[in-house]
Amino acid sequence: MVAKLKKVKRFTILTHIIAWAVSLIWIIPFLGVVMASIRPLPEILNGWWNFEVFNPTLNGFSRAWNHPTAPLSRALLNSLIVTIPSTFIPILVAALGAYSFARFRFPTRDLLFLTIVLLQTIPQQMVIIPIFNIAISIGLWNNYIGLILVHTAFALPWQILFLRNFFSVLPVEVEEAAMIDGASYFEIFYKIVLPLTLPALASLTALQFVWVWNDFFFAAVLISSPELKLATQAIPAQMGRLDPNWTVISAASIIVMIIPIAIYVALQRYYVKGIVAGAVKG
């Protein structure tokens, strides 16, 4: 018994050591950009882990924020202007559609649903050239409305799948009672179904916000004026191709990634639920 206990203990200690060692691999690069962002460039050129000289400064942040060609002060605001509507419009549109799939029977319903579900695997590259052409011809190129519409459409397949599955397991008795009381379909949807759906909506909000905020490809094709560029576009612009200023680019990286990290931390439970539900993202 004692021997066995000892063995169990040794195993526990071993797993703890391995787990913490492995996790260091994931933590150190983040620690690296944090250190690099608060130290002058000469101090980090031979490694941010050297501390013989240590003069912390916020100079990198102010230079990333006020960058001459790609200032984050502007890019961050631009990203918010695009991301907020691109988060809430698709959720509303998808909820309506998903409710229709979950609660009604109509001809071609299953075929239609299957088609929409399959659309979620379409890569961005497969739609971007025609979208670029359409956007140019109707004046939505280099225009946030175009980008927001594209993000909305692209989000619909996985959101409809996610919400239909959620609606399918909601008890229908309440809705039936409301209908007997004379409520219209839209009233039932807004007053009864949506409030019950809040946890699912939290998952969608977290995932979609982060997804749109992080997107680079759609933005790179559809937005070209320097003053309209988004946060993810500012990163390559500030980095350049040769000899990046690691103080500035580290600060810029932190500013840009802190938003999705904050969303993740605040809505962690819902975020993970959404991921695990198997949301296939384009």
């Binding site: 490694g47 009604f104 890569p123 590259q125 739609v127 809705e175 990634m257 975020y271 991921i275």
Partner: protein
């Protein structure tokens, strides 16, 4: 309750169907169509596909056969990405999920590992380039500590090393995904199974292979398929680090498509669409399998 109706459900669906038709369905069909046209807009059959496969940028097995360093062409690079990245991310994801379940502070470590999936891939690319820097990067510092200092270099600057460096870096970015899916899978396994195994005197090793792994099959299907799609579509980190260079050594399909459509002058929508279509066909094969599984379950 399923109400037989046609007007109301269609009304509810109209906005979604409209958006999907304009911004997804029509563009997909249109991209296929464009891939069959030349620069003048004339129908040329599969010429663009032939041109894509004829380009060393896309398909260059010669270097690989002769044992030379990349470029091997975008298609082969994506293939190598899958061969190296897929087993590693599955392995590390499963390992971390199993280990961290019983470790003190496991939830915090999980969150840290998962950050790779949460941050923009563009920023992920910056982080990778930084750790691979010659003097400022931590990878070389580590090599010097273990006595391999003579290998130190800027790993993303050379055709010999960039592809593998990016692939390993992308394992760092993506492992959080497989870990989180496996963690959820583990929670779904009834504890009684483990208790019964323990009473029967099964070793940890045996329990792991006979109970944990088979019970995680659905999670594995999701992880493998999603990871394959991610590898096929890889773009941001390659773009921000070397834009497919140096000398095409880190070229992948999505980057090649973007360059031909939107950066090269004159742009070539025909071949870019052909690449996009090929990419989609490959994606679709894997994805149809996953969706089929999900709808069934």
């Amino acid at each position: 309750m399923s109400r037989r109706q046609i007007k109301i459900p269609l009304l509810f669906l109209t906005p979604a169907l409209l958006l999907l038709t304009i911004f997804v369905l029509f563009p997909v069909v249109n991209t296929i169509y464009i891939s069959l046209l030349n620069q003048e807009g004339e129908f040329v059959g599969l010429d663009n596909y032939a041109e894509v496969f004829g380009r060393k940028e896309f398909w260059n097995p010669q270097n690989l056969i002769e044992g030379k360093p990349p470029p091997y062409g975008a298609l082969i690079h994506n293939g190598i990405w899958i061969l190296v990245h897929l087993p590693l991310s599955v392995f590390f994801g499963l390992l971390l999920a199993v280990l961290l379940r019983d470790v003190k502070g496991g939830a915090i470590i999980k969150s840290a590992v998962f950050l790779g999936v949460v941050i923009p891939m563009i920023v992920g690319g910056v982080l990778l380039r930084f750790i691979y820097e010659a003097d400022a990067g931590i990878v070389n510092a580590f090599l010097r500590v273990v006595g391999l200092g003579h290998l130190a270099r800027t790993w993303t600057a050379f055709p010999q090393t960039i592809l593998l460096s990016l692939i390993l870096g992308s394992v760092w970015i993506w492992t959080g995904f497989s870990m989180i899916v496996y963690s959820a899978g583990l929670e779904g396994i009834p504890m009684e199974l483990f208790e019964v195994a323990k009473i029967d005197g099964a070793s940890r090793w045996r329990t792991f292979w006979r109970i944990t792994v088979p019970m995680l099959r659905p999670a594995t299907i999701v992880v493998v398929t999603m990871t394959l799609l991610w590898e096929l579509k890889i773009f941001d980190i390659v773009w921000v680090i070397q834009r497919g260079g140096p000398g095409g050594a880190s070229m992948v399909m999505a980057v090649m498509m973007y360059l031909r459509a939107f950066l090269y002058i004159p742009s070539n929508f025909g071949t870019a669409s052909a690449i996009a279509t090929l990419l989609t066909i490959m994606t679709f094969g894997f994805a149809a399998y996953l969706v089929n599984r999900m709808v069934k379950s």
